[in-house]
């Protein structure tokens, strides 16, 4: 197989979904307790972009990312994924939208007592009829997609292991496989490396970057470490107290920009350090 043929085959095995754009128009979120998590955010992300959202904890990063798949509804304003308005959806429509958006979490959010394979099957929920899930019968197509997803993060050999028995980095890889099994057009990552040691953090960020490049997915990743944002993403969005305070090329962000985002001078804990 020539390299070209291989590339075509690989893309064929991956995603039928094409990357979609993300648009936020004057989005505000106020929680029932009265906390204003987001204030009038407007931004637009092109298909296939790799964007980081940077800010201190409590700055609204997690809320921002959750408005995109409707886990947190916008109190006012509009969120669009491609041409689709998120706010108007509920029930089946919302589940279908979510089915096309992968998400990974700081705490991995795996069902630790079940196998790696079972966890990755969660990614097929929106794409298979409920009765199939309830009976536990995966279609051959689902199995192929799950196998491919596990293989692409190097976790295929551990398919039958208990998720709870894995290391942190391995757990996050399984979580990525779970998201990839959705064959998503957008990938959301909420502080994906905050619970990992530096070398593992770099390899997980590398995985995300590879997904972005190989599959052409739109990737939106929350980070609180400035060097990771600079190194792995092309564009950076800075949030401070729920307001957009920075939007520009990640590589070009200066230390002064970070001081604006953090509202204080740069400290040691804002940097992860190198992989080695």
């Amino acid at each position: 197989m020539t390299p070209d043929e291989h590339a075509t085959a690989a893309v064929g095995a991956h995603a039928p979904a094409t990357a979609r754009s993300l648009t936020l128009e004057h989005v505000s979120v106020t929680y029932p307790g009265g906390t204003r998590a987001l204030r009038d955010i407007s931004l637009s992300i092109a298909p296939g972009e790799m964007v980081s959202v940077v800010g201190l904890s409590g700055s609204g990063k997690s809320t921002l990312i959750r408005t995109i798949n409707g886990l947190v509804p916008a109190t006012s304003g509009r969120v669009l994924v491609g041409e689709q308005v998120v706010g108007g959806l509920s029930g089946r429509g919302l589940r279908e939208l979510r089915g096309g958006i992968g998400m990974i979490f700081q705490g991995f959010n795996l069902a630790e007592r079940t196998s790696v394979l079972s966890n990755v099957r969660v990614g097929r929920f929106a794409h298979s009829p409920t009765w199939r899930t309830l009976l536990g019968i995966a279609s051959t197509e689902d199995t192929r997609i799950i196998t491919e997803a596990l293989d692409s993060v190097g976790m295929l050999e551990r398919a039958w292991s208990r998720a709870g028995a894995l290391s942190g980095g391995q757990k996050q890889r399984v979580a990525i496989a779970r998201a990839l099994a959705q064959q998503p057009s957008v990938m959301l990552a909420d502080e994906p490396v905050a619970s990992l040691d530096p070398p593992t953090a770099h390899s997980v960020m590398g995985d995300l970057l590879r997904i972005n490049q190989e599959r052409g997915l739109t990737v939106l990743v929350n980070l609180h470490l400035m060097d990771l944002a600079r190194q792995y993403t092309t564009r950076m969005i800075g949030l401070r107290d729920g307001e957009l305070v920075f939007d520009g090329p990640a590589a070009g962000a200066t230390d002064t920009d970070f001081e604006t985002i953090y509202g204080r001078s740069i400290q040691r804990r804002d940097v992860l350090g190198s992989a080695s």
Partner: protein, 240 residues
């Protein structure tokens, strides 16, 4: 309050300490009989004892199967609807408020003497215990994977079936075993009201004042209960 409960005039309990001394001789003789179990009676106890065990097993297994959906319905993690949850919990609390032998008495009157009312009693009792304890255990645990399931576009029933259920399996297994232990103890006495098992024989022998036989039956119940407890302890260790 303690004083009030001792006034027979308003329905309290009369403390008949005198009766103990008066009947002590009579009682002592019977206790002496109890101390000498009649081993020759053993063959006659075998069939009812097996029936008791069969009732306990069938009751526990049926209740285990029925408890799965009801528990998922009653737990916050698996049922986001507060109204539905409260409705199920209320019904379960009502079911739990009726004592086991009361069910048996009424059911025997409804569907006739036999093992069936006994088994139904055990099922009702077990569902009450399992649903309450397991749904509370599920509620006190963390379920981060539910957000992941929801983010992947899963329905609540998909999330429950593939993640909440396998994740809560140890809670279930623990309570199922516990309900089996309780069943052996309860089914031993259900026969007193006609709901099958060794209780019938126990009551009959007591009515004939053959306390040596009663003693043997009690001894057997004791042994069987302890054996089942040991067995379920083993099973628990395996499941961990």
């Amino acid at each position: 309050m303690t004083v009030a409960t001792c006034l027979p005039a308003i329905g309290g309990v009369e403390l008949e300490l005198g009766a103990i001394t008066r009947n002590w001789r009579n009682g002592a003789a019977k206790l002496q009989q109890l101390a000498q179990p009649n081993l020759a009676f053993f063959p006659r106890t075998l069939t009812p004892m097996l029936e008791t065990l069969a009732m306990a097993v069938v009751g526990a297994v049926t209740a285990a199967i029925l408890s799965i959906p009801v528990t998922l319905w009653a737990a916050r993690a698996s049922n986001p609807s507060a109204l539905g949850r409260q409705a199920v919990r209320f019904v379960v609390n009502v079911v739990r408020a009726v004592p086991d032998l009361v069910y048996a008495t009424i059911l025997v009157a409804m569907i006739g003497v036999g093992t069936l009312p006994g088994v139904v009693t055990l099922i009702l009792f077990d569902i009450g215990v399992v649903v309450k304890l397991v749904s509370e255990a599920i509620d006190s645990a963390d379920h981060p994977y539910i957000e992941a399931g929801r983010a992947a576009g899963g329905t609540q029933s998909q999330i429950n079936r593939r993640t909440v259920l396998p994740q809560s399996w140890p809670f279930f297994a623990n309570q199922w075993l516990y309900s089996l232990e309780l069943n052996v103890r309860i089914s031993a006495i259900l026969g007193i009201v006609g709901a099958g098992g060794i209780g019938r024989l126990l009551d009959e022998r007591r009515a004939f004042y053959t306390y040596e036989d009663v003693s043997l039956i009690i001894l057997e119940i004791l042994v069987v209960v302890v054996l089942i407890e040991l067995l379920s302890q083993q099973a628990r260790r395996r499941l961990r």
